[in-house]
Every structure is written in C-alpha cells, then in structure tokens.
C-alpha cells in the first residue's frame, strides 16, 4: 500500500526537524502511543493501542530513523504486529521551506499489511492509515505551536 500526505507547519525547517526527532514529542503525538523506548541510536521500541471506533488493537513494534539529512529529509522504518495483523514499511519524509517561516512536510510511504484484518477490512487499511497519519501531524503541529522557541 502506498500512502502520501503533505502538512504545513508554521515554523522553519530547523525547528520542525527538531520536534520530529524529539522522542517526547513523538511519544505524545503518535496516536495511541503507550510506550516509546530507545533501543539503539535512532531506534525505538513502541507499544501502541490504536482504536478506530469498535476496532481496537494493541501493537508492538519498532521504529527506526535512517538516512538522516537534517533538516531536509529522513526515512522512517516501521515494523509492527498485533493480533489483527502486521505492518512493515518505510516512509520517506522531506521538509521544504515554505516562504521564510513555514515548512511543508511531505510523506511518501510504502507499506505491506497482512493478517486477519485483510479478510474483512482490506478496504479500510489505507484510509485508516491515512487518518492516523493526519492525526499524528495535527498533534505535531499543536505540539510545535505550544512549545516555546
């Protein structure tokens, strides 16, 4: 599955980069994030409890940041599984200045999803992933606005 999104932040790329790499911000903004613990440099173990309406599940996974080119781009490798299925994928994230004081963050992701979830809900996977991604970036935008310069 392919997933894309584009988000505007009211701050220059350096500041947006800093929050996007900040474990505290990530833990607060990843939907349903219960734990996020560093296991190596640029790598975290995470537990998520994600609920979309009646569909709830707990997922364990790893997040690894690679190809860092601050403050322009990085790759986010995600791997997770739970009772309802698994996901494994990579998101290419780029930050582009938008005028003097704003940033456009673009995400192009590619993921494999499998497991029982597909037999009843294959049509829900992409829109749900997109919804969670939108929630994540909306929370990040709020986090950035709320954090002092």
């Amino acid at each position: 599955m392919r997933i894309e999104g584009s988000y505007r932040f009211d701050a220059p790329p350096e500041r947006v980069w800093a929050v996007l790499q900040d474990p505290a911000a990530l833990a607060a903004c990843i939907p349903g994030c219960q734990t996020l613990e560093p296991v190596a440099e640029h790598e975290f173990a995470a537990t998520l409890s994600v609920g979309v309406a009646a569909f709830k599940g707990t997922y364990n996974g790893r997040v690894r940041v690679a190809e860092l080119d601050p403050p322009h781009r990085y790759d986010l490798h995600v791997e997770g599984s739970g009772r309802t299925g698994f996901v494994k994928g990579v998101g290419h994230i780029s930050l582009e200045p938008d005028g003097g004081s704003a940033t456009q963050v673009k995400v192009v992701g590619d993921a494999q999803v499998g497991g029982p979830v597909l037999s009843v809900a294959s049509r829900l996977v992409v829109p749900t992933a997109k919804m969670l991604m939108n929630q994540f970036f909306a929370a990040m935008q709020r986090w950035l606005r709320a954090s002092p310069m």
């Binding site: 392919r2 309406a53 009646a54 569909f55 029982p116 037999s119 009843v120 049509r123 997109k130």
Partner: protein
C-alpha cells in the same frame, strides 16, 4: 474464530439502552443487525465487553411520513426499505440504493442505522443520505439532537455520534426529488469502489436544487460541492452535466488500494457522476 467473551443485554426501552451505554462507556457497543460488528468481533478486530442489542427497543424501526418529511427508523433493515411501497413512491433515490447492498441475506439483517453509525467508507447509504440532506436524529442521556448528514461522517469508521448516543431516525426532507445511484462494485466484497448518489429538482427548465453524494472514493463520504455549484440555477444539458462531472472529484483525497488506484477512483467519480446526473435529470 470465536469472539472474545462479552455480556449481552437486550433492553426493552430506549432509556434502558442509553443507561447501559452510559454505564459501560467505552466497553459497550450497540448491536443492530450485527452484519458489520459480528464479523469484526469474530476476528477479534473488535472486542467489546458488553453488547447492547437494540432489536427489542420499540419504535426504532419502520417507515412513516411526518408532514413532508420521510422518516426511517434506524433499525429498519435494508430489505424493508427496498420493498417499501412508500419509499418507492416517495423517495426514488433510497429505493434505488437499497438493492445495491450486499446480498438478500445481508439486506434482511443489516439496518440503515447500523450502516450509517458504522461509517464504513465504502458503504452505500451515506452517499444517498448526503445527497438527500437528511437529518440524523440521535438520542442520548441529555436528550435528543438532529445532526445534519454533512456533519455526521467524521472519518474512517468515525461519526459525530457519542458512545452513549443511539441513532434513532433518518429524516429526509423533500424526499420526492428525482434521484439516481451509480456504483462500481468491488467484485469480491460487493462494497462500493465508488458510488455516486444524486438527488435533484428542476424548475422552469433549470436545476433548482441538487445534492451529489460520493462514497467509496476517500476515507469518508462527501458532497461534490464544486460540481453542484456548476449546475445550480442553470439548465441541465449534456454540456452542463459534463462540466459538472469534471468537477466531481475536486477536494477528494482519493484512496489508493489493491482494488483501485487513486487516479482510477477519481476517474470513476467523474464518470459515475455524469451517469447519475444524466438519469436523475433526464438528459
């Protein structure tokens, strides 16, 4: 697979149902026809601890007229709507949508309220409910309110309903407008890859009112407002219809998946809008 254990309640009144929902909060789920909820429970995608079956609550099902408004109880099955002569006469669009849902067995159990509350992005009713400017009457611990269809669908499987609210009625003002539904059906599941519903009225040779509802294309159903604007107040002709259809996917964040790319969905939205407009407006 068997579902996780749960407690089952079958309240005999709406008050009791709402009390049970309020008491159990996040852990409880309403059970209507069970045709979306039970498959999810069997795969343990959903594991509610408490089910509140509203099948025995009186007055939640049936079709009636309230002045000029067509009122459909939330527990009315797809099949009852399909076979209702009142619906055939009074609301051609709903009569046309119903047979598109699943198969006869599904339509005998599944309810319009369950379908709307579930908000599967590929379900059929939302397109019609949006096109018809329906009002959704919901009842909760603090009384009742009516949510306009436009504000009801929030995101994938997410609506404006609170967990302790019951969707009670679908209220359709001006149900008699001409209508048409066009659907590209997923061959395996029967759900809409894209579905387009049109409700329209012409006066003095011009389009006096129009609603175009789109389902399946994105994470939530939506009105094709740009396309509606093209037609409002203008005569319906092959040219104006094509001009409108070309605008039908404006603002839609189309879903790419195994079954259809985002570009293909966008294309389907335009083609199906053109066809539905053509039938609804007789051009």
């Amino acid at each position: 697979m068997y579902p996780a254990p749960f407690r089952y309640h079958a309240p005999r009144s709406l008050d009791e149902a709402i009390r049970l929902l309020a008491e159990h909060g996040d852990e409880a789920k309403i059970l209507a026809g069970g045709h979306s909820l039970l498959p999810a429970m069997r795969l343990r995608l959903a594991q509610p601890k408490v089910l509140v079956d509203i099948g025995r609550v009186p007055d939640l099902s049936g079709i009636r007229l309230d002045g000029g408004t067509l009122v459909i109880g939330a527990m009315t099955t797809h099949r009852e709507i399909e076979r209702s002569s009142a619906v055939k006469e009074r609301c051609p669009l709903l009569a046309e949508v119903a047979p598109h849902i699943g198969d006869v067995q599904v339509r005998h159990r599944g309810t319009i309220g369950g379908s709307l509350a579930h908000a599967d992005p590929a379900s059929d009713w939302p397109a019609a409910i949006l096109a018809l400017d329906a009002g959704l009457k919901v009842i909760g611990p603090n009384g009742e309110r009516t949510i306009p269809a436009r504000d009801f669908f929030v995101d994938v499987l997410t609506t404006a309903l609170a967990p302790d609210e019951v969707l009670a009625e679908i209220r359709i003002p001006r149900p008699g407008r001409a209508g048409a539904y066009e659907k590209a059906r997923n061959r395996a599941s029967g759900f809409a890859v894209v579905g387009v519903a049109v409700a329209a009225e012409q006066q003095d040779g011009k389009v006096a009112s129009i609603g175009i509802g789109i389902t399946g294309a994105a994470g939530r159903p939506a009105r094709a407002e740009a396309a509606e604007q093209v037609l409002l107040g203008r005569p319906a002709s092959p040219d104006t219809l094509s001009e409108a259809a070309a605008q039908a996917a404006v603002g839609l964040d189309c879903t790419p998946d195994l079954h259809a790319s985002a570009e293909y969905r966008r294309h389907l939205v335009q083609i199906l809008t053109r066809r539905a407009l053509s039938r609804a407006l007789g051009v």
